[in-house]
Amino acid sequence: MKIETMTMESPEYPEHLKSIPDAPEKLYYSGDIGIIEHPLIAVVGTRRCSPYGRWAAEKISEKIARCGVSVVSGMASGIDTAAHRGCIKGGMPTIAVLGTGVDICFPSSNRQLYERIAAEGLLISEYPPGEGGRPAYFPQRNRIISGLSKSVIVVEGAPRSGSMITARLALEQGRDVFAVPGNIDQPNSLGVNKLIADGAYPILELESVCEVLGIGVTEKQKIIRTLSEEEIMLLGFISEQPGMTIEYAAFKTGFDYLTASTLASGLELKGLVSLRGQRVFLQK
């Protein structure tokens, strides 16, 4: 395993991180340092998570990864693990900020994930190689997690947990904090729900998470980018006058009927419009 270092003076040291109070002087890392240039969002939460929390962390991470974001987390068990997994699933490399030396896998049950991140992602720590974890180290590294990221999403956490520390630090660093609302009968929900009460943005639904976070492009926009000029033209007309017949749209856009009909069929297949008989509507 190749371990490298960077200091505040190094060119690869992210500007973004320098701005936080108490920025680390020196960082050890292993993996592709280029990832640090990606848009980064932290997804953090409790180690003792519920199945719902694990699902939410993984899905949200996957979704934002698909918008071109790399997820930063702490590789702890529970939410952190789910966040890293989701990011990998979404096709983006992930960054783990460790509370141990980068050559140490903690918890050891995460060996597989650790190796995967070492190979495809980036492991970062402010502790020298060989350094085992100490309880105080973990809250410390949380400031790096939020410091590296543009926003922080807290999935689950009790009121005085490490995740709440991350959220507080993030606010101090001027990062946006988002929280996933939880059930009110679970102690691990109380922290996040309180965050929402204190003004964190709630993530209300999975579908719109990328828009809420204001990142990358939505899937719809991505599809629209792949459209041909003709398709854009037709789509433009449909959004102006939804519910018109294809034949009318053909007349207005200057296509012959068959072309317009085929284009509309393609747009339907891409999920952009819906066809009811001869009438064409915008798909929500």
């Binding site: 519910g243 018109m244 017949t245 294809i246 034949e247 009318y248 053909a250 007349f251 012959d256 009927y257 068959l258 009909s261 085929t262 509309a264 069929s265 393609g266 339907e268 297949l269 999920g271 066809l275 009811r276 008989g277 001869q278 009438r279």
Partner: protein
């Protein structure tokens, strides 16, 4: 004194040889007909007696027995009269030379015809399939009613002697004055375009015209859905104009069916144009697919090689709709009767029309639908899934709002002639492709054939896969789309199925949301 004369019996469309044996004996005068003859044959006695007397012959006052053999098969129809009368004439000493008699007894000439009381010979039903059957069984010539000559002329190589009355027939037998000989020449050559209305009468509405063209190319079943007054029937009546004229084989097949059904007349002795049948929705199942005591062909067979148009599809009685499944699947109908099973071809293009709901305004942009959800589902539900599965192309017609109407009103759009060109080309591509298969059109493709003939190019295949997942298609729906895409590609000059063909075919899926 004994004699025998050849005639024929009809079982469905298959004409078979039947001998009329006549024996006249000393004894108390009597006239009996045996050989499983039905009422219409037994009544022949009276017709023959009067016809002979009124033609100047003496009805023999002897004990006469007629046997129709093979005697074990049921027989019906009035065409046996002439053969029985000819046998009687020979028995009662008609002057006939021995060579002619021998030919007669060898079965080289057959006799068909119904006698009137004054001795004239009436046309009979089923003459064409009878003559075809007799030719196939080695009979060289037929004496038949003048009224059946036109249809019989379709049978290549058959010698035909049309007889106006019994007397002329007797003169022909005795060699005194032969009847005029005609030789069957095959195609009639005449093709009278029925007054099929033109697609140019429908202003604009390119969508439905295109759908009709596509359906006609592959003879795909087509269901039009739309509120009252948008022109569903108008479209249906114009579709026959898109199809090419009947080929000789088709003329032969179709005319046979009409002949058996008794639908030929003096004005219409041959079927030369594509059938268009539009039965009313009160039709019974047996009238639709065939049946009744005489196992007559039904509307589906009368629409063979043509179009069966069912307007107001959900209003048909459900037994009738169910009975459509077999002919749609197999292209034929078989009717079982005691002692006989008859098969009629029924390969037709189904064109159906319906309202989206009982009041007709569901989904209308302006007028509100007055049906409840339950009403609507019940209405749609009358057409069973299995029947819908056999309709490849679903298309809806919309009531247009003013803005949309004004678009179409200037341009007449495609006419029948415009559309027909593409159909002819696409049909000849199919003919070439399926020359070694039992099918003729894309709509008839079976699952293994679809694998073989519906190849998509790479992007087309990917698109199809995406559609399968996105629209949650069933395997059957998937096949329907492939078949339609095949036709769309044929209409585009053949070759592999491309992206745009799949996209077009996808437009004609059944609107699933109506079922929900």
């Amino acid at each position: 004194m004994y004699s025998r004369v050849l005639t024929g019996s009809l079982y469905g469309l298959s004409g078979e040889k039947t001998w009329a044996e006549v024996d006249s004996d000393n004894g108390l005068p009597a006239f009996n007909i045996v050989g499983l003859a039905n009422q219409s044959i037994r009544e022949a006695k009276e017709r023959i007696r009067s016809a002979m007397e009124n033609s100047g012959f003496k009805f023999p006052a002897r004990r006469i027995t007629v046997n129709l053999t093979p005697a074990g098969r049921r027989k019906g129809g009035s065409h046996y009269d002439l053969a029985i009368a000819a046998g009687l004439l020979i028995c009662s000493g008609l002057d006939i030379d021995s060579k002619a008699l021998e030919e007669l007894e060898n079965g080289e000439t057959a006799f068909l015809g119904e006698l009137t009381l004054d001795g004239r010979i009436n046309a009979v039903d089923g003459a064409l399939p009878l003559v075809i059957g007799l030719r196939d069984r080695g009979v060289r010539s037929v004496v038949l009613p003048e009224g059946n000559l036109r249809e019989a002329m379709l049978v290549k190589g058959m010698e035909l002697f049309p007889a106006p009355d019994l007397k002329a027939c007797a003169m022909h037998l005795s060699g005194f004055e032969r009847l005029e000989k005609h030789v069957g020449c095959g195609a009639s050559g005449e093709y009278r375009d029925r007054d099929i209305p033109d697609f140019s009468d429908i202003k604009g509405q390119e969508s439905i015209k295109r759908a009709a063209q596509l359906a006609a190319c592959g003879m795909h079943g087509m269901l039009m859905m739309g509120p009252p007054g948008v022109g569903k029937s108008m479209v249906g009546r114009r579709i026959p104009g898109l199809l090419p004229p009947l080929s000789y084989e088709e003329q032969l097949e179709v005319t046979q069916i009409y002949s058996v059904a008794g639908e030929l007349s003096e004005e219409k002795p041959l079927i030369t144009e594509r059938p268009f049948r539009a039965p009313h929705h009160s039709i019974s199942a047996s009238a639709l697919v065939g049946g009744g005591p005489a196992a007559r062909p039904g509307e589906v067979s009368l629409a063979h090689c043509g179009i069966l148009f069912l307007d107001e599809l959900p209003e048909f009685n459900s037994a009738a709709l169910q009975s459509l499944r077999t002919p749609l699947e197999e292209g034929s109908v078989s009717i079982n009767r005691v002692g006989a099973r008859v098969v009629y071809p029924a390969r037709f293009m189904l064109v159906a029309a319906m309202n989206p709901c009982r009041c007709g305004y569901y989904g209308d942009p302006v007028k509100e639908c007055s049906c409840t959800e339950t009403d609507r589902k019940r209405y749609i539900g009358r057409i069973s899934g299995p029947l819908l599965d056999r309709i490849d192309l679903h298309v809806s017609l919309e009531r247009l709002i003013y803005e949309e109407v004004s678009v179409g009103s200037d341009a007449p759009g495609s006419s029948t002639a415009d559309l027909k060109e593409g159909v002819a080309a696409a049909m000849s591509i199919q003919q070439e492709r399926y020359k070694d298969e039992t099918i003729r059109f894309n709509s008839q493709l079976t699952a293994p054939m679809i694998e073989k003939y519906c190849r998509t190019d790479r992007t087309g295949g990917e698109l199809l896969k995406a559609a399968y997942e996105r629209f949650d298609l069933s395997a059957r729906a998937y096949h329907r789309i492939l078949k339609l895409a095949r036709t769309a590609a044929d209409l585009d000059g053949g070759g592999d199925i491309k992206e745009k063909h799949v996209l077009e075919a996808l437009r004609y899926r059944f609107p699933e949301d109506l079922m929900k």
